[in-house]
């Protein structure tokens, strides 16, 4: 049957690869495996009852409106809620036409890529970055210019020379993609000084920044740093936010804020891809927020994950060979990034799976290669007992790899 289809597929779909993480999730669902792999929230932290109440209420109150087609730009009450609620971090209220509701923040990357990328164009990103985003960009034909990172995030000081080189090559750079807070997978946070510098460079070069900030509200210690969006007065920053980590990913509701011109363009693309984000889901999220549950639950979610991170840190110190593994303690988010200078992560992975513990290899996060001796572990999903047991197994696997 597929013989009919094979010659008909587009070029892009011949190089389509399933997301390595999604594929690995199948593996890590095997019984007995302790998974530090997926970046999923802990279902125990979902406000199930509050969401059910909100869902019911809004259907009773607004059923006819929210079962109808919605405007592509998003459910107006949710937009006005977000404009107020995000104002402290955005530096101001957002106008209606600066805000677009999306199907999670994944869709923000897709829409912006539709609007900007021709095959061969370059995107600037951290040397290791969220592979879902680079996958989406790659589907649009993007190539990548990667910037090294350290404990303070992207080495922004290296950016001008990288942009110069691209210019000399005649390569168009369409936007700078960065995850400034509690980076996925690196766990690092972009320092204040670098934020200022990054915005200035973007302005000088007239290259927009996509500030992907799904974890920004999930900070366990230290002070919030200002968003790039709030440091910019020229409309160079496009901000992407999401309810996935502060409420629940199953809603698939996210948003993007930016210059009117680009928001309008993204909205026209959105018409073509899904008409509008599920109005039912948007309205339920809105009601949940409006009833005060977002503010009420967020401290609980933060406390829940802070404890998990601390349990993780303790377990790592106790069970891993500290002279062989290094990491930076994340101040928020979901991830630890572990570097093992003397161990190849790919070999370690096989041993770890044998011992029934899973993580995500470093390599797929590097769009231009690298990360062979590093990997990501997620601390939000496993229970405390699993964390101890999983770390014990991981420590054994590292030691075995060294001896082999």
């Amino acid at each position: 049957m597929s013989s009919f289809w094979e010659p008909l597929y587009g070029r892009a779909s011949r190089s389509l690869k399933p997301s390595p993480i999604r594929e690995m999730l199948h593996l890590t669902r095997r019984p007995g495996i302790i998974s530090f792999a997926g970046g999923m929230p802990d279902p125990a932290a979902f406000p199930v009852e509050a969401f059910r109440e909100a869902a019911n209420l809004i259907l009773e109150e607004q059923g006819r409106d929210i079962l109808q087609y919605g405007t592509t730009e998003g459910y107006p009450p949710l937009k006005s809620f977000l404009s107020d609620w995000t104002a402290p971090r955005m530096g101001r209220n957002l106008a209606e036409d600066e805000l677009l509701i999306t199907a999670g923040s994944t869709q923000v990357v897709d829409l912006l890529s539709w609007a900007t990328i021709d095959p061969g164009d370059a995107i600037v990103c951290e040397e290791a970055t969220f592979l879902g985003s680079t996958g989406t960009m790659r589907n649009h034909g993007a190539t990548f210019i990667t910037v090294p990172c350290d404990a303070e995030g992207m080495r922004v000081d290296l950016l001008p020379s990288l942009l110069e080189e691209a210019k000399k090559r005649g390569q168009a750079v369409k936007y700078i993609y960065t995850i400034p807070n509690f980076h996925n997978p690196l766990g690092c946070t972009l320092s204040l000084e670098r934020r200022h510098l990054l915005v200035r460079i973007a302005q000088d070069w007239a290259i927009p920044i996509l500030e992907d900030d799904p974890y920004g509200y999930i900070r366990y210690d230290g002070e919030h740093l200002p968003t790039l969006f709030s440091l910019d007065s020229r409309g160079i920053v496009i901000y992407a936010g999401s309810f996935s980590k502060i409420l629940a990913p199953g809603t698939r509701v996210g948003w993007t804020a930016g210059d009117r011109e680009i928001i309008r363009k993204m909205a026209v693309f959105k018409q073509a891809v899904d008409v509008c984000t599920s109005v039912v889901a948007q309205a339920q999220v809105y009601k949940y927020c409006e009833l005060g549950y977002l503010d009420a639950f967020l401290p609980k979610i933060i406390a829940h994950y802070r404890k998990k991170r601390d349990d993780f840190e303790t377990a790592m110190r106790r069970f891993l060979p500290l002279e062989e593994v290094s990491w930076v303690k994340p101040q928020g988010g979901y991830f630890y990034w572990l570097e093992t200078p003397r161990v190849l992560a790919r070999e370690l992975f096989d041993r770890a799976i044998e011992k029934q513990v899973a993580f995500v290899l470093g390599e797929p996060f590097f769009p231009n290669g690298g990360g062979e001796r590093a990997f990501r572990v997620c601390f939000t999903f496993a229970s405390p007992e699993q964390t101890d047991e999983g770390m014990k197994r991981l420590g054994d696997a590292i030691r075995d790899s060294l001896e082999a």
Binding site: L59, L67, Q107, A115, D274, V280
Partner: protein, 403 residues
């Protein structure tokens, strides 16, 4: 940043992109007092609000599961339900690997194009056809080939010659897009004989069929024609369905059934597009179906829209000039009217002045044309508005010389 600064950054598609002309015209229809036959919206009065609210109990019962990230392929209980519920139309119980839940059927077009289309590739479409699909395909830089339609749908007999000629010109044809039942905008239904012939041609030429069927379950009289999918044993057909018209468009839940390899590829594209369709929306739709409300409510929807269609037919018989050409659709949402000698764009402004709106026919043609046609939707306007709207439309037509 200035508009010009952005222009430098846009992709070719991004730079060429314009807001759809229908949307712009629709803005005019929002004036107070306007009777709108324009948009293709369901009637909110028939939404099963209470039943859907009851279905939200699934958030309490399975909250930890449905608030989590879902499988890209879709919420498995909903897929199982659909494959059984649709079996009579599909000719068999389809397998899970053949089906993907999508964010409305609009997304099917986007995903399918991502899998199939390289810039410049050709897609065969009906003339006229659904502009939302044209918009999506244009973004994928599709070049179109049109096939004219008559009362029995796409004039399938013309296809072999169209395909032969296009191929002789070196064009790469990727698929045939057809809305088989109560087509948007024409209201036509592809006859059983043409369905068989279309499938034969598809197999002979190796060009797959994209059978888009959002209205198929909304038949008000006559008997259902078999889906092309059900006639196919060669894996040539991709079938797209939607809850938008049989439940509520605000759910944004649709589905596609296709050969496993094609479905798998669409799944991979969807991972990068929205990860998965809103699980809470899928779960609520599933619970609604499981409680029996889909089957329970569908006859009410049919009855409601049948009456509205009849009301519009009756009103048009009384008010439209005798040279207006249209037929009464057996299902779906739309009347398609041809007014020989009248420019319907000019008519649009006149009609809007009189307080009635429709969609200009030209919007439905990939290469323009259809200047004397228009589409009216009978599902959205209230019963008392239908007669008055038709009267206003009749007046506007006569002022432009319609007899």
């Amino acid at each position: 940043m200035s508009e010009k600064a952005w222009q430098n950054l846009y992709s070719q598609v991004g730079a060429a992109l314009k807001p759809s002309p229908i949307r712009e015209l629709l803005k005019l229809t929002k004036r107070p007092g306007m009777i709108s036959f324009a948009g293709g919206n369901p009637d909110p009065a028939i939404f099963p609000v209470k039943e859907f609210a009851e279905a939200a109990r699934i958030f309490g019962e399975r909250g930890e599961e449905v608030l989590q990230y879902g499988m890209t392929e879709g919420f498995e209980p909903l897929k199982t339900f659909l494959s059984e519920w649709m079996a009579p139309k599909m000719g068999r119980v389809t397998q899970s690997e053949e089906m993907l839940i999508t964010t409305g059927s609009q997304q099917v077009t986007d995903l399918f194009c991502s899998v199939m289309v390289d810039p410049g590739d050709t897609v065969i479409v009906e003339e006229p056809t659904y502009p939302g699909a044209l918009h999506t395909m244009r973004n994928h830089r599709v070049s179109f080939l049109g096939v004219p339609c008559d009362e029995n749908g796409m004039q399938v007999d013309l296809l072999p010659e169209i395909i032969r000629k296009a191929r002789a010109e070196g064009r790469k044809i990727k698929f045939i897009y057809t809305i088989v039942n109560f087509q948007n905008p024409s209201g036509y239904t592809l006859s059983a004989e043409r369905r068989r012939r279309l499938l034969e041609i598809s197999i002979e030429t190796g060009i797959p069929i994209y059978e888009d069927d959002p209205y198929g379950l909304l038949r008000y009289n006559g008997t259902d024609e078999p889906t092309i999918f059900s006639m196919d044993t060669q894996g040539m057909v991709l079938y797209a369905g939607s809850f938008s018209k049989i439940l509520a468009p605000g759910s944004r839940v649709g589905w596609v059934v296709a050969p496993k390899d094609v479905t798998r590829k669409m799944v991979m594209v969807k991972q990068g597009v929205d990860m998965c369709t809103s699980v809470v929306a899928q779960a609520a739709v599933y619970e609604y179906c499981r409680l029996g409300y889909l089957d329970g409510h569908l006859p009410k929807i049919l009855d409601h829209y049948r009456k509205k269609r009849d009301a519009m037919a009756e009103a048009f018989r009384e008010t439209l000039p005798s040279n207006a050409v249209y037929s009464i659709p057996e299902g779906g949402f739309f009347f398609w009217i041809r007014l020989p000698g009248i420019d319907t764009k000019e008519l649009f402004y006149k009609a809007v002045d009189k307080g009635v709106a429709f969609v200009v026919g030209e919007s439905f043609y990939p290469f323009g044309g259809g200047n004397d046609t228009l589409r009216t939707c009978f599902t959205f306007a209230q019963p008392e508005e239908i007669g008055e709207g038709a009267r206003r439309l009749g007046l506007a037509i006569r002022e432009l010389g319609g007899k």
